[in-house]
Point group: C2
């Protein structure tokens, strides 16, 4: 069974995080959400729009070897928190070496901070200048460059989830979820 790590920092974009987790779990992927603190009351993390989600465990207990991929949801506050977290940056580098790395919306900024953003990538159009790296393209909802996958924002998060399922599980499973969730626009 494929497994994916999703770090949740305060201020994460809720539609992006939940769309990715939901689609990946429907695809049979074991998704583990982690909060960034060592200890945290009830593991509750609040997103950019006031929606509070309970994470599965602390980031201190995970290593990239246990996962096939790490995926970062966006939201500016959440993205800055990820980009300033030493352990997140280490995990991104570890995963880049021989696993998959993904980020959506503003979160490719954290990939750039870790030095793992690909030559071809996409992101939230409004985050392009802050990321400030050649290779940005806005012609695709999901850009795959080697083992780095990026996507644009809330409206492309479900499609990004499908692309991850296709990569880690297979095209038939992806197509079945696409039909079941009414994602004809992906």
């Amino acid at each position: 069974m494929a497994s994916v790590l999703v770090p949740l920092a305060e201020g994460f974009e809720e539609v992006e995080a939940v769309s990715l987790i939901d689609v990946m779990r429907r695809g049979g992927i074991e998704v583990r959400t982690v909060y960034l603190e060592d200890e945290f009351s009830n593991a509750l993390v609040t997103g950019a729009n006031g929606i509070t989600i309970q994470a599965d465990m602390s980031i201190k207990n995970v290593i990239c070897d246990d996962f096939d991929m790490i995926v970062l949801p966006g939201g500016w506050d959440g993205t800055y928190a990820l980009a300033e977290n030493k352990r997140v940056l280490e995990l991104l580098k570890e995963c880049k070496a021989n696993k998959m790395v993904g980020a959506i919306c503003a979160a490719p900024y954290a990939l750039k901070k870790a030095g793992v953003l690909g030559d071809d990538y996409t992101c939230y159009p409004g985050a392009k200048d802050e990321i400030n790296q050649a290779g940005y393209r806005n012609d695709k909802k999901v850009v795959i460059d080697g083992n780095i996958m990026t996507s644009q924002g809330p409206g492309t998060a479900l499609c990004f989830g499908l692309a991850i399922v296709e990569k880690l599980v297979g095209v038939e499973t992806m197509l079945s979820i696409k039909e079941g969730m009414l994602l004809d626009f992906c």
Copy 2:
């Protein structure tokens, strides 16, 4: 400021609930999520795909007069729980009288149970037979019939959120969110 009540029952569909809450809050709507029990440890409710969200308060403390609309997310387990809850059915009838009522995916089933489903409605295609009422249509992502709004499923939830913002706040706010969230498919 417009306000909307979103009941969360165990087994709710997470993409639907979070998409609706996120879009409505971006539109300036005060969204209150409620759990169905009187007392509940930390107000945590777990959805159909294992995502746990913290609700704002108990349903016992709300009346329809305090809101402009009640909206039900789907997911079969969540829908059955809503449809079997006496207080939810009462609230649906109260809101039908002089507020707005909404439901997505399987949740129009709960509207039918409460006797408030309109003559024109949509729902998840696979829920049509269980709902078993004339007036089902599959040609629109969102169907508005008087003060009853219905939508199809996870892939239409963001568009449903936009339609609610347009109705309760206005078309300019809706268009601004549509652009900001990259929802050109709505």
